[in-house]
Symmetry: C2
Subunit: 342 residues, 2 copies
Amino acid sequence: MTKAPPRRAKIQDVAEAAGVAIKTVSRVLNNEPNVREETRQRVLAIVKKLNYHPSLSARSLAGRRSFLIGLIYENPSANYIVDVQHGAMARCREDRFQLLMHQVTGRGEEMERDVLGLVDQTHLDGLIVTAPLSESVDLMRALDRRALPFVRVAPNDVPHPTPYVDMDDAGAAREMTEYLIGLGHRRIGFIVGHPDHFASGQRLVGYKAALAAHGIEFRDRYVRQGYFVFESGMEAAKELLIQPDPPTAIFASNDDMAAGVLMAAHELGLTVPERLSVAGFDDTYIAKTVWPRLTTVHQPTYDLAYTATNLLLQMLQTGTAPQSMRLGYRLVCRASTAVVHK
Amino acid sequence: MTKAPPRRAKIQDVAEAAGVAIKTVSRVLNNEPNVREETRQRVLAIVKKLNYHPSLSARSLAGRRSFLIGLIYENPSANYIVDVQHGAMARCREDRFQLLMHQVTGRGEEMERDVLGLVDQTHLDGLIVTAPLSESVDLMRALDRRALPFVRVAPNDVPHPTPYVDMDDAGAAREMTEYLIGLGHRRIGFIVGHPDHFASGQRLVGYKAALAAHGIEFRDRYVRQGYFVFESGMEAAKELLIQPDPPTAIFASNDDMAAGVLMAAHELGLTVPERLSVAGFDDTYIAKTVWPRLTTVHQPTYDLAYTATNLLLQMLQTGTAPQSMRLGYRLVCRASTAVVHK
DNA sequence: CATAGCCGTGACAACGTTGTCAATTTGTCT
DNA sequence: AGACAAATTGACAACGTTGTCACGGCTATG
């Protein structure tokens, strides 16, 4: 009563049914030139009829490429990485590539070993490297040694011929700071992002630039180190707020930390935005779910990843490195910021 | 000046260096019996020295398996799916399998086509199916037709020999409801989860059971349909709260909706937990970042996925279907619930 | 002391594609 | 019509593994 195991059609079956050589079928499937239109149609019809799908393994083996692209990340917030994943996935699907996610463990040499293990074992065609992994010169050198094409989806100051996609972190941070200044704030706290991320420094630069442009003195005591996670934002905010002459606004370098600031404010009994304005960065899901809703910088995370993947696929197809790209941001003003309280 | 392209070592290279046949190297690498210990060591030494890694494609082609496992999901909250991903990934790594994530688009027939497209194109060895995809009888039949082993990581009432991993949704919901009753609440609102999810019904069952056990009449007007997303929780809560004799507690079927309830409460000027207690379900990241922090049911998402993947790998290796499993939950009482206000 | 069986090993044929190159057909230009 | 170029097609050898089967040496058995 068990049904016969449904043997998979192979290229040979298609070729026979269409009365052509397997090579011709291969040509049709890969959109190679020099196939008569009539033949092409006949083959395609059979392919459909037999529900034929080429074997990825055989293709990889013969064609010397795996159609696999890796996406490596370290320890980002879930909301952020999911956007990245979906952006990269969407672009991969268009070209029938598959995406292999890989969360990297460890740092420094251990991280490097982890990544190289992935690369060596899976024979990836290319790699998408997110921050802060994209800032490791050692990793980039190791990838070069493997002759593995990769793109970076992150701001960056490491010189390398490989393209990257980023946004103007400094500009965005400056604009947000100026927005707060425009609301009358003069004592503006700033929570720096994780020190491993180049973007963290850039956002700080933007914050300082805005203060300078408006003749506001920069003070160390209004700045605290954070680590891009909720708890670090909460603790930094408490430190900022319990000092005399505390800030009337706090700008956190990402939304998770900004949510931590809100939590600190609630615990200290400071109403937001009446007594304290709070701004975030990234515009992830969390920004819309906390109360009050966060004013933040919208970062085009999905597009960043989509574009990076696009560049990578171009590299693979043309063999040359395309131009890096910079995508736009925009301020999203919600309910966590208001005119300074007198 | 360009360094020679670092040609990848192949099994032949290893065999020659070790003075054995390629088949022997293959045996060593696959832990097959009948290799003298001395030979094994010699081969392993060479493998390490040459940094040899077998080609996945060649292995797949010859061995008729791809070492690829698919993980399909529909549209879950980011925090949830990331936990699932990492659980499955962790288990895959142990056996050198690779995980292919796939977000399914569409419903019904379109969903089915999408999944089958993935399966056909990639020649997966197995599939991890999350809710609510795991409840589609059609999909399961289609997978059977492809003779593709799969596991379900979700509660389920579809009879099928394939194993699944779940938790006691009804029991957990009942316990949470009883906890609220224990705090003195009698008018307890309930927001049902997405109707496509079997778990939604189970959680409702638990809620009703708790009411019944404590002689509290069940009333339709305290129940609203939600869709597992923030906005739906917010809207449902508003409807529940603007009626006369409104609930003093609201139990939402997941954390995202519970966060929506908090937002609604804030907008209506109801302080939580003084005037309204709120409980969620899942214990995802969001539960710790909203204010006040959510009382919720901890669902072992990571372990659920890890265990499911484990079962799948067992199936692949032994060829027989292992027992399904049920994992434990626990109530996490935080700041969003309190004794009923008089 | 032969004999059957197991252990360790290797030769060689798959696996299902793509790349190369040669053969055949078609089209274009005198 | 004949010659040459271009388009179309096919035969066959890779690609780097695993599966199958055969072979020789060794050990336990009768």
